[in-house]
Amino acid sequence: MKRFALATVSTLAVAAGSSVLAEPEAEVLHWWTSGGEAKSVAVLQEEFASNGGTWTDMPVAGGGGDAAMTALRARVLSGNAPTAVQLKGPAIQEWYEEGVLADISGVAEAEGWAEVLPASIAGHMKCEGTWCAAPVNVHRVDWIWANADVLAANGIEMPTTWDEFNAAAVKLMDAGVIPLAHGGQSWQDATVFEAVLLGIGGPEFYQKALVDLDPEALTSDTMVQVFDQMRTMRGFVDENFSGRDWNLATAMVMNGEAAFQIMGDWAKGEFLAAGKTPGEDFLCASTPGDGYLYNVDSFAMFSVDGDDKKAGQELLAKLIVAPNFQKVFNLNKGSIPARTDVALDDFDICANLSAEEMGSTSAAGSLLPSYAHGMALRGSQSGAITDVVTAHFNSDMSSADAVQQLADAVANSY
């Protein structure tokens, strides 16, 4: 009876909706709760309100999104999904397969998303050909940050090959500087690993090994070399690195205790917050080798009932990808816009470098998803790889054993 009543009401609402303009409303689940992030999401909230929408905020902090995902699971299982959820990478398709995502192709086509987004990033926003998510930003992951004074004092240039990096590191160690600031948390180990893998194996190898999970690539000699380099890097880290947070490692570069850090461009936010100038106090460059590893935040749109909610969803999707929000949000967050037609005059040199290389690597086909940040693989697969990477980095496991374990772990993760 209740269901019948609901059905009647919603039919009426649909009938009414066609004549009366719907009032857009959206409930947004996200975990952007810390300083700069909260400010960034407030921008979207204001824009949504000024376009006549009602925004219901559902921030769930904690665990790098783990808590939010638990909340999402509960909401979906109870048949009451939020309008939009901060999701990224293959997790979007994973939720699509559960049959709970909406089709927002209408907005995407009207706004011409396909023309303004790089093809490989647009691919993440589609579920079997229909658009189901809206990209917010692009973080580059394969950055190497350096303290400009320390490099100058030791006569070191930004390295462009891993051999140069190793030579520079040895020189720094002799001078009593920690070559690489690193935090021994598994995701940070994985971040360094994917940068090394991209540099040594090249973009094609990266695609085969960490996106396609090709067993041949995983057990290849190149992979052994990658682990060898990881072992070398282990020697460039101070002995006290276990469990250190990434921002403390950034601080070590800032105060000259360490020379380099390999970390995504959120590290730039730490430098800027400390009043450092890019290009003068600290240097940014892509890690040695070709290619570009991206970490794209996006909002996946969930199936909702009712015209108001549908209107809210479409308005939200439109605003997220619109140039104004892309610019303001990314200035706050330290990343770059996902769309390629936003003027970057207000952005710093690192962001401009990032945008430039995003364009060039996109044309060359070497714009690749970051595995360490959940863009390339599903949770159980990327987790299995990270287990091996972190176990190797934190023990005296040989590279050959690591490669064998890697192949086994991937095979065991399906």
Binding site: W95, G184, S380
Partner: protein, 290 residues
């Protein structure tokens, strides 16, 4: 009516909690067992696929580490906490002055949450901040104490912190046990000129067998469900060297979207608890029937 109520009141009052336990404990154990037999990833699915999750679990080197850590941690933690607790209790039992104050001091760590204990020990054991750097600062530059960041020894730091937290509680249990031993027997032994250590080993400790059993059960279940201490102290690291089954289960269920795998590890944890608790219940019930 009132007579009926009088007769059935206990049952009526107990019924809600009985039903709640039935659903939320045994019902969910059954649900977890079911899910552990499926290929559930992001959301639970109910199609049975046999023991695939258990095969994956036992093929995983990380689970191997976790379960070995549990044995190592559990054994060391239980044995050392009990020995230390007993020793403290015996020393306190020597009719010393300000016993109350000392007892409170030893018991206080129990009042802290494991997160606080873990964080404090993380700082104490950190080579760059804690003991190592302090002793080096005293003029012993070769002094090394890097267990926390050494994958082979990190699990012992967890043992250390857990013992610090729990041995005071074990002491209190044993102290109560010591005090409940019949004073007449001890006096008789003293009259016979038996040395004190013999009185303890031959009379007092054997008569405290039930206390040992209670202490063991309490410590064992603390060990198996240990989670917060690991998260605060090492975060499971370096690498995954200090993973325990509970942290493994959490990672699978909440970080990796691998619910089937998490359910199978939860079932194994439950079986370990059963292996300890069932013999205890059996011996308790048999004792009552005699």
């Amino acid at each position: 009516m009132s007579e009926w109520l009088e007769n059935h009141l206990p049952k009526v009052v107990l019924a809600p909690s009985f039903i709640a336990v039935l659903i939320f404990v045994y019902g969910f154990i059954g649900w977890t067992a079911w899910v552990s037999l499926t290929r559930s990833k992001l959301l639970p699915k109910y199609e049975i696929h046999g023991f695939i999750q258990y095969e994956r679990l036992f093929d995983s080197p990380r689970w191997d580490t976790a379960i070995n850590n549990l044995y190592l941690f559990g054994a060391l933690f239980i044995v050392i906490a009990m020995v230390l607790g007993l020793l403290l209790a015996i020393l306190l039992d020597q009719k010393i002055r300000v016993e109350g104050a000392i007892r409170t001091i030893y018991l206080y760590p129990m009042a802290l949450s494991m997160i606080v204990t873990g964080t404090a020990w993380k700082w104490i054991l950190n080579p760059g901040l804690g003991i190592e750097s302090m002793v080096q600062g005293w003029g012993f530059p070769n002094f090394e104490f890097d267990w926390l960041v050494n994958p082979d020894y990190a699990i012992y730091t967890i043992v250390l912190a857990a013992i610090w937290q729990s041995s005071g509680f074990v002491m209190a249990l044993f102290l109560a046990g010591l005090r409940s031993v019949d004073g007449e027997i001890i006096k008789a032994a003293q009259v016979d000129g038996i040395p004190t250590w013999r009185i303890y080993t031959a009379i007092i400790i054997p008569s405290m067998a039930p206390i040992f059993l209670s202490a063991f059960i309490v410590l064992a279940h603390l060990a198996i469900k240990s989670f917060d201490l690991v998260i605060a102290l090492t975060g499971g690291g370096p690498g995954y060297a200090t993973d325990l089954p509970a942290t493994y289960m959490y990672a699978m269920a909440f970080s990796r979207g691998d619910i089937g795998q998490a359910a199978s590890s939860a079932m194994i944890m439950m079986l370990v608890v059963f292996a300890i608790v069932v013999p205890y219940l059996y011996s308790e019930l048999r004792a009552k029937n005699d």
